[in-house]
């Protein structure tokens, strides 16, 4: 009994670190009081009740819940990406991906906190952070699923320097996205909360539209055959929406919070849309690896879009779909992830300059969401 009581007391002491500093006194009070409780079951029950309430409050207070959720998500991604023969170059790349991304996502909040302050208060900041991190992890997961077959022997018997350079660019881009998400949702953010909200919501909507309609149009292609004009109209509509969205978001943000917010709204729109498109499209490729429609479409289009990467490698057998998907990811989506936010930021900045802010007093510096 004594050692069980000691363990409970030690557990209570250890859990105190997950509580806010200004509240730890209550846990010290509970532990001090335990000395007054008769030894044995009563004292153990007292301490057990304290452990239970400490865990509950810590989880509700997000001090414990978010790290646990992040650890579980990273563990799930690692478990999925890790599987495969160790001698396979694609598996080696996947493992490096997962480890590096986990380190980046875990370490960046600390760095951004020093530069931009802690996370902004409010639901918007929490949702954007959680959603952004989830999207990055999903992208890493589905990319690993695609590459597991696409880069496996005999396609790539060993990782080429170009493949490693591509991975490094991918990891750097993901680190940039994570930094952007954290910076925009910190207390000293250059974007006001309403700008983050406008940009993120517009970006998610446009990313889904671009995926569903065009220029990607996966669902349309998989549910076809549709009349050719429908494909053309969908692609035109998708492109039009993609161009107009950052302008509209920048205009709306500038009208509400000042011209400088136009660029930030455009940046948020572009980043959210690019992340959404990349995750959804790569997930589709991963889930439908041997789809003939995807294979033919990728073989016919991807090479044309990215001529410097070269045409889709013809591979015998069912791997072709994966190879096409991998090329699509490596060439197309990495470009989208790189250029999407920059172009959208430019469009948003232009819209912000054009927009007339009705009330300058409503403009305020960034901060709490």
């Amino acid at each position: 009994m004594t050692w069980v009581t000691r363990v409970a007391a030690a557990l209570l002491r250890g859990l105190a670190r997950f509580w806010p500093d200004d509240r730890r006194g209550w846990l010290h009070a509970l532990r001090a009081e335990a000395e007054e409780v008769p030894a044995g079951w009563h004292r153990l029950a007292w301490l057990a009740g304290g452990v239970q309430f400490t865990l509950r409050e810590a989880a509700l207070g997000r001090r414990l819940g978010y790290p646990l959720a992040f650890a579980a998500a990273v563990a799930g991604t690692a478990w999925s990406a890790w599987s495969g023969p160790a001698g396979d170059s694609a598996i080696v790349i996947n493992r490096v991906d997962v480890i590096t991304i986990a380190v980046i996502l875990a370490g960046l909040p600390w760095a951004i906190r020093r530069a931009r302050g802690p996370a902004a208060r409010g639901r918007v900041a929490r949702l954007v952070r959680a959603g952004g991190y989830a999207a990055i992890l999903i992208l890493v997961l589905v990319k690993a699923a695609v590459e597991r077959v696409a880069d496996a022997p005999p396609n790539n018997s060993q990782a080429t320097p170009r493949a490693w350079i591509g991975e490094m660019v991918f990891l750097a881009v993901m680190a940039g996205y994570a930094a952007l998400i954290l910076a925009c949702t910190s207390r000293r953010s250059p974007a006001v909360p309403v700008t983050v909200t406008i940009g993120t919501l517009t970006g998610v909507a446009i990313g889904f539209a671009a995926y569903a309609l065009g220029p990607w149009g996966f669902p349309l292609r998989f549910t076809g055959p549709w009349p050719v004009h429908l494909y053309d109209a969908a692609i035109a509509l998708g492109v039009l929406l993609g161009l107009c969205a950052p302008v509209a978001a920048g205009f709306a943000a500038a009208r509400r919070s000042g011209g400088g917010q136009g660029a930030m709204a455009g940046l948020c729109t572009g980043a959210a849309a690019a992340l959404m498109v990349a995750a959804l499209s790569t997930a589709t490729i991963a889930l439908l690896p041997y789809d003939g429609g995807l294979r033919n479409w990728a073989a016919g289009h991807i090479g044309q879009w990215t001529p410097f990467v070269g045409q889709v490698t013809p591979v015998v057998g069912p791997r072709l779909g994966y190879v096409a998907g991998n090329s699509a990811f490596a060439a197309g989506y990495l470009l989208v992830l790189l250029l999407g936010p920059l172009l959208a930021c430019g469009f948003g900045a232009w819209a912000g300059r054009v927009a007339r802010h009705p009330d300058p007093s409503r403009a305020r510096p960034g901060g709490a969401a």
């Binding site: 209550w26 009070a29 509970l30 001090a32 009081e33 000395e35 409780v37 009740g49 304290g50 509950r56």
Partner: protein
């Protein structure tokens, strides 16, 4: 729509216990023993009452021998007024505040947390 009471039965029990001797500092185990509440229930109630300014807390001034200093609690003037009103409102369903424990508190209509 039925009126929801401001305090839960457990909170009313703690308020009644503190209200019985409002000028006296009480410690956690004493309140728990007299109300019948477990530590996992009592401390959240105390924290929320303190957050609302209804309860004030302090540590014992002097270091006693053989045991750590204890955290002490009592009602603030606002807490006393609020507790008196809340207990009066709940009085048809509950006995004298001073003798009320969790068993007595359970007879109070269940309500929301503070």
């Amino acid at each position: 729509m039925a009126h929801r009471p401001e305090f839960s039965a457990q909170t009313l029990a703690v308020l009644a216990e503190l209200c019985a001797t409002p000028s006296q500092w009480r410690h956690g185990y004493g309140i728990a023993r007299d109300t019948g509440l477990k530590s996992g229930t009592l401390y959240p109630v105390l924290i929320r009452l303190a957050d609302r300014g209804l309860v004030e807390a302090c540590w014992e001034d002097e270091q006693p021998t053989g045991r750590p200093r204890r955290h002490l609690y009592r009602l603030t003037p606002e807490g006393l007024a609020t507790a008196t009103a809340a207990l009066a409102q709940a009085s048809p369903a509950r006995p004298e505040p001073a003798s009320t424990g969790a068993r007595g508190a359970r007879r109070v209509a269940s309500g929301t947390a503070p």
